[in-house]
Assembly symmetry: C2
Homo-oligomer: 902 residues x 2
């Protein structure tokens, strides 16, 4: 801990600087910076974040703090020419919290501190404005009572006691607006407010300004540990150890008359990113009035008319600030008696769209470098550029009309409206009639794939962010709200009950997969411009400003990144989308997704239920031509790019028939007794299918499955090659734990390749690799790399096994764990670097120790999550692979990884 606790600013110089945010908080550092660059900042001082952490640990202040505060206060008194607590000429101050990052959960502001029954008289004398003085006084008592002394409504339904007192007085006086209350009324309110404090707080309202000050300082520090602040930190990954600073600053008044004003402004439009000065202000008001929404603020442009001089200053100031901070600024200002005072500047929050526009335009303007632009945007924000969105007017109207039904997980961004389809068949039927449908299911299973594809959106009652519905939706780029517990779906009755209303198949719902909202009715959606350019090709790229911005960012990202970006895709159309988004290959083609659908599923079931290898081979022979067609379609799209195909992975019973009818059908196809089929199905039941007979364990016990898949792949590759297509197949063996497993499966693949190439007189280069998705595989990576030509981390399964947590069964505790900080992030969203990551690092190092040329990628869901992408970069991976719609995100994150490392 440094020996200096307090940093003064004001009088055109400051002890702090913008780069001292860690010590002074964002607000304090920027107040100092503004002072130093000559902007008009009311004098004040910041108490450092170190004092906060000291106070947290020991529930005491460090020695010397009081002395430093007093000195700093004297300095303010000297500059302002007023004295704290002086009955004649009292200095009033504001007290504000200010952490390294803006934190809405914390105590915000106390204004007018220093007022009491004596000093209020001095204020009246100096301003000759008793109404203003008493208004300031009553506001101070109210804020202090609320924030420092904790005076609150007893329960949710009770009105705020201070507000109630105002209302009562207004009623009594027969007036409607606060401004209609007289100075005497306000003086009366001060008394009433103090009485409320005396009644509701164990601590009386302190008359001594110094007691007021220390009370406020303590309240700021304590607010760092209040529930809201803790919750906010958790959500935003802000360490508790940062602490907050306290800013004490001489008051300036926007409410002393009509030549006073207060306002907030942005140097550019925070919603659209457009380059124009944007903001609003109120004449004769204090800061909180702007926010409170009682009076309607005026657009900033009117200030030019109202107060041309101050406006000119403000305009000069905002340009100075943006240029100085090299980013869009969010300003707070007050005009007192026509003079502009700056109370805050910070980098302005903005929508994703604004962020991209501002970053790109600032590069255009020569203000920042392309690399800086890349670091100015959050990769996740790209979602906002890509997804259809609700027309905001329509959506707000619907909400106002009470049509918001429930909220689930925002599992697949974007907005979609359609009629309810309770099953895949219905969704397919709707599409064939050109009707948009939402597939509404308790949860989805692989059998719903066709329906998910046919629907415009998916809504489930059960399942998390990585449930089947969410996973497939993201891969398909479908809008999805998952795990919406409020839904009561009755397939039998064909009803969906939610929020006291009952809906039937064919009724319209609208879902917002970016927020998780489920709404009644058909709300109009707007397609993303980028999608229209890239995928739908309905907009000429040259005519789209949005596309220009997207393309520039992507171009800069691509020239910065080292990681290649591949995609997880199983169908030619998905591959096409992925290529449009910049995929440089397929990182995971799941062959099992091809196993559903009419004829196929029957053949698959025959294969599983066969009693012997002949029966299996017979069924596999039916699948061979279909799989070959699948791969051929993919190879054609992926022309020139590597295509990594995984052999069959899931436990076989995922494919089994469930209904009596399906069982009957399969039994008939196989010429077997229904009971025999049922018995076989029962015998395939597993207690823990995730850890059961799946992955390469299938191909090892039933090598004919791998044989068929390899044959389909190589025969398709041969056909494509003969068509002049450049094919680069990679065959990946899943769930390997032992070197020998891979050895056996690789031998099958290579044998089939040799056979096909000899027969077809074509030779195609290919690789055989493995998933690293079991701890044992990571641990023995040196041995496995003797056989594997590449590794691909299956971080979904690796997370499940490393943590011993089933993704499907984690709903009972993972939300609790994340909420209670037992784990930092949902581990199926963000790679657990301390656990899973250690195994990954080990695997990369050991694998490359054996085979220096070993290619390593990731194809788990984490491959499209920015933090995880950056981690993969640090581990030295060659590529990440993610669902098509996350490719731009991964491209950006991969670039940021390089830039962050510099």
């Amino acid at each position: 801990m440094s020996s200096k606790f307090v940093y003064s600013f004001g009088g055109e110089k400051a002890e702090g600087r913008a780069d001292m945010k860690n010590l002074l908080g964002g607000k304090g550092a920027n107040l100092a910076e503004m002072t130093n660059i000559g902007l008009p900042v009311p004098p004040g001082f910041s108490i450092t974040t170190e004092v906060c952490t000291y106070h947290m640990d020991r529930h005491a202040y460090p020695d010397g703090l009081q002395h430093e505060v007093n000195s700093a206060l004297s300095r303010v008194e000297d500059i302002i020419k007023a004295k704290f607590g002086d009955p004649e000429n009292p200095l009033l101050v504001s007290v504000r919290s200010g952490a390294r990052a803006s934190m809405p959960g914390m105590m915000d502001t106390i204004l007018n501190l220093g007022l009491n029954d004596t000093t209020v008289k001095g204020l009246i004398a100096r301003t000759n404005n008793p109404r203003f003085a008493y208004d300031s006084y009553r506001r101070f008592v109210q804020m202090y009572g609320d924030v420092v002394l904790g005076v609150q409504a007893a329960h949710d339904k009770e009105a705020d006691p201070f507000e109630a007192a105002i209302e009562e007085l207004k009623h009594h006086r027969g007036v409607i607006h606060d401004v209609d209350l007289t100075a005497d009324d306000l003086k009366e309110l001060v008394k009433l407010f103090k009485a409320i404090v005396a009644k509701k707080s164990p601590i009386p309202f302190p008359e001594d300004p110094f007691d007021q000050l220390w009370g406020a300082i303590g309240a700021v520090f304590n607010s760092w540990m209040n529930d809201r602040a803790i919750a906010y930190r958790r959500l935003n990954s802000i360490p508790e150890s940062w602490g907050t600073a306290v800013n004490v600053q001489a008051m300036v008044f926007g409410n002393m008359g009509d030549n006073c004003a207060t306002g907030v402004a942005f140097t550019r439009n925070p919603a659209s990113g457009e380059k124009h000065f944007y903001g609003e202000y109120l004449t004769n008001a204090q800061g909180e009035d702007v926010v409170a929404g009682i009076r309607t603020p005026k657009p900033i442009s009117e200030l030019k008319v109202d107060q041309p001089h101050a406006y000119a200053d403000l305009e000069k100031t905002y340009r100075t600030l943006e240029k100085h901070f090299r980013d869009m600024q969010d300003l707070e200002f007050t005009i007192q008696d026509g003079k502009l005072w700056m109370l805050q500047t910070r980098n302005g929050k903005r929508t994703g769209i604004a962020a991209f526009r501002i970053a790109v335009e600032m590069v255009d303007e020569g203000m920042i470098s392309p690399q800086e632009a890349l670091m100015r945007v959050e990769p996740e924000m790209l979602n906002q550029l890509l997804r259809p969105i609700f027309d905001s007017v329509e959506k707000n109207k619907a909400i106002k009309e009470g049509k918001l039904l429930a909220k689930g997980l925002n599992a697949g961004p974007g907005a979609a409206s359609g009629v309810i389809a309770f099953n895949a068949k219905k969704a397919v039927e709707c599409r064939s009639h050109g009707i948009d449908s939402l597939l509404v299911r308790i949860e989805t299973s692989p059998e719903d794939i066709q329906g998910m594809n046919a629907a415009v959106g998916i809504l489930t009652a059960r399942g998390g962010m990585t449930s089947h519905a969410a996973l497939v939706a993201r891969q398909m780029g479908k809008v999805c709200v998952a795990g919406c517990g409020g839904l009561d779906i009755d397939y039998h009755a064909g009803t969906l009950k939610v929020s006291g209303k009952t809906f039937h198949e064919g009724d319209f719902l609208s879902i917002d997969g970016s927020t998780g909202e489920v709404l009644e009715g058909n709300i109009k959606t707007l397609p993303s411009e980028i999608i229209q350019v890239l995928i739908d090709k309905t907009i000429d790229p040259a005519k789209s400003e949005m596309y220009r911005i997207y393309a520039k960012l992507m171009q800069w990202a691509d020239s910065s990144r080292r990681l290649k970006i591949r995609t997880n895709a199983d169908q030619p159309d998905q591959c096409q989308t992925a290529r449009a988004f910049g995929a440089e290959g397929i990182g995971l083609c799941r062959t099992e997704h091809m196993f559903f659908g009419g004829e196929r599923i029957t053949a698959v079931r025959e294969m599983i239920l066969a009693d012997d290898v002949e029966g299996r081979k017979k069924a596999l022979a039916k699948l061979l031509p279909m799989q070959r067609e699948d791969f051929l379609g993919i190879f054609r799209v992926m022309d020139g790019l590597p295509t990594n195909i995984r052999t069959l992975d899931p436990p076989l019973h995922e494919f089994l028939p469930h209904t009596e009818n399906e069982i009957k059908h399969v039994a008939r196809e196989m010429g077997k007794e229904i009971d025999a089929v049922k018995l076989k199905i029962a015998s395939l039941h597993e207690e823990n299918p995730m850890l059961g007979h799946r992955g390469c364990r299938l191909g090892i016990v039933y090598p004919e499955i791998t044989e068929m898949q390899a044959q389909a792949i190589f025969e398709a590759a041969v056909i494509a090659t003969k068509e002049g297509i450049a094919v680069h197949p990679e065959i990946m063996i899943p769930l390997v734990g032992f070197r020998k497993e891979l050895e056996l499966q690789a031998a099958v693949v290579r044998r089939i390749a040799t056979e096909v190439f000899a027969r077809e007189k074509v030779k195609i280069d290919y690789l055989v690799g493995t998933m690293i998705e079991l701890p044992r595989a990571a641990i023995t990576a040196d041995q496995i790399a003797e056989v594997a030509e590449y590794f691909s981390f299956g971080t979904n399964d690796l997370t499940q096994t490393t943590m011993g947590i089933s993704r499907d069964d984690s709903k009972g505790f993972i939300p609790y764990y994340v909420e209670n900080n037992i784990m930092e992030f949902e581990p199926f969203q963000v790679i657990d670097q301390e656990g899973v990551g250690v195994l990954m690092e080990w695997a990369v190092q050991r694998g490359r120790a054996t085979r220096p040329s070993l290619k390593v990628g990731i194809c788990g869901e984490h491959g499209g999550e920015p933090k995880s992408v950056m981690f993969c970069h640090r581990l030295g991976l060659d590529y990440v692979s993610c669902s098509p719609f996350r490719i731009p995100i991964a491209r950006l994150a991969a670039a940021q990884a390089v830039l962050t490392a510099k």
Copy 2:
């Protein structure tokens, strides 16, 4: 590879020694050793194992081998004064394989090599015994045809063609025994045999003795890679790289007349271990006749009368050999014309009981040290000392009568007979009537515990060596045959169908848990003497020789070992048994096993199905006094020893009611609707319960469960302390993956401890530790050790998660994997040192880096498996914990670990 390929022996000196087994094989090294210590060994030579590995790699012999063989053969000729292939005075040799370890799968012996139509005449001239000569010749052709040229029956049902020819000839001659065939008959047989070879083998029978010799040498080397040898090596963990040696030795003949004999003998009784010369011989016979069982051999004692001079030599020789090799020897000898020749000596195979007796008595005799005695016994063999066994006469009789019904896994050693009980209730009922029952289930679940305890044995149709049935049986010391696929159990019909027979409840079955056999009827069992001394106390220890041997071995083991041995036990009686077997504490007390049984299970179900914390607390309050009693009972038995209690671990739905009646009962108890209870049950369903909401995840989301358990433990500890009992509780938190999890649970435990101690004014030292059973726990052991005072490896779960293999679901591929050498051992039996073991090592090192005093143990099933115990020793663990009946095994393995390391 050394430059010498052939080692000669004979003429009172040899180039090899007993310690050259790696190079010369066991047989060759011991033939050399016997020669060197002056025993009468026919001269010969060994071709080294290095030649075998060279031959395997390159399918060729090293340069110079032929020269060395010729030289060695010349040396033999010089000693014997006969010449290989000489028509007048032919040298005949035997050719035998001989690997480092005895390997039944390999080619064994070819005798009389060197005979052909010419040399046989020389043999007749020299021995004046045409019948002997032609008998030797036909035996040689038969052996050579069979072993070297691969002449065999065309299919299983065809007789051996050579034997068929003999039978036909005997029939034709009208004689019954081989010995009744004349010299001419035998000469005829040689012709017939050669005709068989010519017909069945592509290679003709070689007349040239050198061709014969090289053919035989090649056959020995090739037999190293035959299927039987490969299978044997896999079963016995013998590396392929060892190779085998070939021993070529001058023939001596036990079949040249009545002053000739051949026999095998043991220097002590290999079945009982008693110290008397034990063996049998045949007059006028060759070695194979003793083994073939056509003639009944005579006990060795009669040789003293038959051939007193040779017997005296043999007696002197066996004493010399036992003294020289310091172990019980298994000898082969031949007497030719009254002269003793030694053909082999090796350490004799013996039963477990014999091994223990011999080891202890040799220490008594001053022949070996106690440490050597410990290394002479296999820990697993202790099972034979502890388990009840079938009266072998009765069992053999039953098998002959066709009463062997099926074979399952030998999951719980020992023998048991009882009436069939298809459910726990029936088993309990049987016991109350004093009837022994076998609990016969498709598979068992925790609800069967009472029945498993009441039955004398457990038989299941499904489940592996570590299934619930096997696990609990071993812990209870019950006989168990698990996973007996041949059983067709129909609970509804109350029938067991097996091997074409149908059994009903009440019918007698007998199961041998040491072999997996299931037999019809009530076969008499004999209790183990050790059990009668230690547990039943029905035999005075001073009067039991078996106990004396056991106790001595255990005493030596205890003074050698460093590892402490604890037990996994949940009930006072189990604890008592464990202490009798030498447990030094409890390593795992599973509290959930206490949760079953009438009142308890209802309270447990109430707790699980409660809607809120109040409901749970109400139900937990009912459980508290019962759990307290449980722990008190255990503390009383464990007086003075540490008692490690694990908090609730299994997923809650394991406790849920299944039947309509049970659900009704619980609903009534809770005052709830049946449908509401059913809904709750459904909501607790998990896809992969092993990876679900279990372990500390329960105690974290529902801290009141941990509170109740901690309260029961500490209150019981207080009562016991007040009774004067020394209590050392250790509270273990299961399934920890994150430091914070342990932190939260440890805080609950410590808070409750403080409360109880303050209330009761007693202070008891206790420890809080954790299971290391997830890869993430092992990886972050350094962090976890900041909180944990001890670690206990839960290697069952650690194996499941590290390998991604559910123990319950591994039946589809693990047998295949072990059989095909994909994994060396069944990983739930023997710790996977390369995978799981690496995580264990990491955890020990990282844990102790944080907390050097960290106590580390293991409480997975592996804690009683010798290879795993030795691994735990090497890792530096403090203790292993196993089921009571495996404690002696663990004590011995722990001692061997120390002795092996020296």
